[in-house]
Symmetry: C2
């Protein structure tokens, strides 16, 4: 047998072994990586009962047995903001475009620029949104506790959004 | 009073309210939001013992008592990749620029485009990096278990990077 033929046989054998051991991404096997492709069906409009103005949510990945948090992009058009809400297991946001505002019941409003991150601890009632004159996108990482990741409250008034008492 | 003057006064008032209520990011109170501003000192070069090629890590936020994961951007120049490694508590990556490659010991190489996410379960040995001809940035969310978030192994060879046996 020639050396070339031997290499070809060994390569074919190796390939078949690799393929035989391949597992699809949606298999229950917990020992393989899982790809979550970006897709139009991952996008949804922010529900009017939970947001003021135009908001889009693009889901990135779900929570799993190991990582008790999900990921999503949320994009707010100028002046748009969430309703008041709290997260039972907290939430990190990373601003990826524009400037984010986030207010709490004590009257504070944080201003987070692109590249800044913000941690909202469990149970802290707050809102977040864009500035009045520019769109904003943030990536949110939202903890899940007992199957819940958010408790919604009432809308943010224009006065609250402007930081008025 | 002109409308312009009124807008100027309201804007100044809004700004002063926001500034007066600012809280330092290191406040120990667990009931307040925490801002992690982007800053040059959050960036570090990928250590040569853990990476091939030019890699920059920009830390975003640390793990805390509630959220057992940290966040960072990692940017790989063309052809750059991590060494083999595994995460004791898993890792999500979200590709924010370019195309990410991620290989596992079974010979599979995932290709994740901008906007795609990838979950790497605990203990799965893998590498990730840029394609040969374009830079790539991903946002990583890395679980922490018993104080560790990564176990490093040997470098990825050129043949492994190219998907050759």
């Amino acid at each position: 047998m020639s050396r070339q033929a031997l290499v070809a046989i060994l390569t074919a054998l190796f390939t078949s072994v690799v393929q035989a051991n391949s597992t699809p991404a949606d298999a229950p096997d917990k020992a393989v990586q899982v790809l979550y492709p970006a897709a139009p069906q991952n996008a949804q409009k922010g529900a009017p009962e939970h947001f003021t103005g135009e908001v889009r949510v693009d889901r990135l990945f779900p929570a799993n047995d190991t990582a008790h948090y999900s990921g999503a992009y949320v994009t707010f058009q100028p002046g748009a903001r969430s309703a008041w809400h709290m997260h039972p297991a907290g939430q990190h946001i990373v601003v990826t475009q524009g400037v984010a505002l986030s207010g709490t019941r004590d009257g504070k409003i944080f201003r987070a620029e692109t590249g800044d991150s913000l941690w909202c601890p469990p149970g802290v009632e707050h809102w977040h949104g864009a500035t009045p004159d520019a769109a904003m996108t943030h990536l949110v990482i939202t903890g899940v506790r007992d199957g819940r990741n958010v408790v919604w409250q009432e809308h943010v008034t224009d006065a609250q959004y402007r930081g008025q008492p």
